[in-house]
Amino acid sequence: MKKWFGLALGIVTATGGFLDAGTVATSGEAGAKYGLGLIWAILVATVAVILLVEMSGRFAAVSKKAYASAIREEFGFKFYLLPLLSELIAESLLLAAEIGGIAIALSLFTGISWHYLFPVAALLVWIMAWRAPFSLIENGPALLGLLTLSFVVAIVALGGLPKELLPTLWKPEIKSGELADYLYLVAAILGATISPYLLYFYSSGAREEKWTEGSLLLNRVTAIVGMGFGSLGSIALVVLGAIVLQPLNISSSTLGELGLAMAKPFGQIGAFLFAAALFATCLGAALEVVLAVSYNIAQGFGWEWGENKKPVEAPRFNLVLLLFLLIAVGIGLLGMDPLQLALLASTVIALFLPFSLSPLLVIMNDQDYLGNKTNGRFINIAMIVILIIAFLVAIVSLPLEILSGGG
């Protein structure tokens, strides 16, 4: 029975990995601008992320190795540097956005400008990542992440989905000149959801919890329930944006605007629930990102690693953690709005997805690691198709957005 509490790993991976500053930003903006017309992208991303999380958990449980160490072992050190580099570029932007998201959440509670709270948020992330045991990192944000269920309750309280919105599900209203914007949001949704750091975090978490082949059912349930939970929260934000913000001509271009959608049915409690959910999701994501990068580097370079170890027992792992956090703080202090940073990070991630995820496809088909637990044909084809879609959309939309002054 105890091992089923391991579901928390899935919930926290979803809380931080599925729902984060990027997902909240893209979901709110998607609903406010295009009604339900981008829910398809969330569903595609959900399928992809369920497959990815299931694969990385299965790999760790069967091979007893984490993803990064397997990349280096299978492809050599030089090749390993390619996904590492793409990870470092994309995730440093994302970590800065997540810390900014925490600062904005704190700002919504206190009224103090998020610029002043940014260092406080970074300090909070560092303290938790530095000293908190893995179980606290799992359970704390996971429990708080349940607040995202309030998004669903808000939709019910608002009277449910209006019938006139339904056609936007399959026929979004894209005005002349807005197609690049729409595609950019598709790329951002895919990149915000299919984040490679999930693989490093989840497979390392499975090793921290000493999963075995006996954990495969738990792994599958965790992937589906955890990511399904995250997807539900994300779709609920789209619907809230469409129901409340779109009629008011609000495009959800700052994170606090989504709280107005929660305030409409619930008043101040709704706004606070939104701020608390934003805090939980961004904190969970920030911890996952900073740990994922530290896991990645420590495993790739063959260093001692582990969140349950004291810093002195895994010094280089903890040093990387601190340095990466400092890089993200440096990016954040340049002053770019966290929401725009999150959108940019998500699109950059979509662009790098083939580099980050193609090694997984190869490893997951290697019987030396997985015996008879290798991927089936359906999973391979589904992943290749999704990767190609994400890459194409990103390569098309990113330059167009930048040329037209967006992004």
């Binding site: 609000i250 605007e257 305030a263 391979n380 002054g405 967006g406």
Partner: protein
């Protein structure tokens, strides 16, 4: 495994063709007015931000959000809207001088509200909401025209 290796070889062999096709696709769709002009985009964003500010101010006086929440939101609106009067005139797709001047005339009082919103009853918050609504409407109209 063999299938993946074949696929990777195919991608490697035809990488040049794939990149060429992507560039052709990019140039083609870029020529199909997939993007808005910088002015249209900025005006649309400004209109939305003024609308959000108006709703925020209304909600705080209806007790739907706290003063702290509103104050934090206005910091973000300030970041988004400050300096538009300087950048708008030089952007691509700028409309005629009369339309631009009308927008700038509405921008100024609306920005005064953004910088000093009435979050309590000591000042005329309804007049502030009206100023924000006027600016929002004008910017959105120009953006959609």
């Amino acid at each position: 495994m063999a299938a993946i290796t074949r696929a990777l070889r195919f991608i490697h062999k035809d990488a040049g063709s794939i990149i060429f096709l992507l560039l052709v696709l990019l140039v083609t769709i870029a020529g199909c007015r997939l993007t808005q002009s910088a002015f249209t985009r900025t005006a649309g964003n400004a209109g939305s931000a003024f609308a959000a500010a108006s709703t925020t101010l209304t909600y705080v006086h209806e007790g739907k959000i706290s003063k702290a929440y509103a104050a934090s939101s206005f910091v973000n609106y300030t970041s988004e809207l400050d300096g538009l009067d300087q950048t708008l005139p030089s952007q691509t797709g700028v409309p005629d001088a009369g339309t631009l001047q009308r927008l700038l005339n509405l921008y100024k009082p609306a920005m005064e509200v953004i910088h000093s919103p009435c979050l309590d009853e000591s000042c005329d918050w309804r007049a502030q909401v009206a100023a924000l609504d006027s600016a929002s409407k004008a910017f959105l109209e120009v953006s959609n025209s």
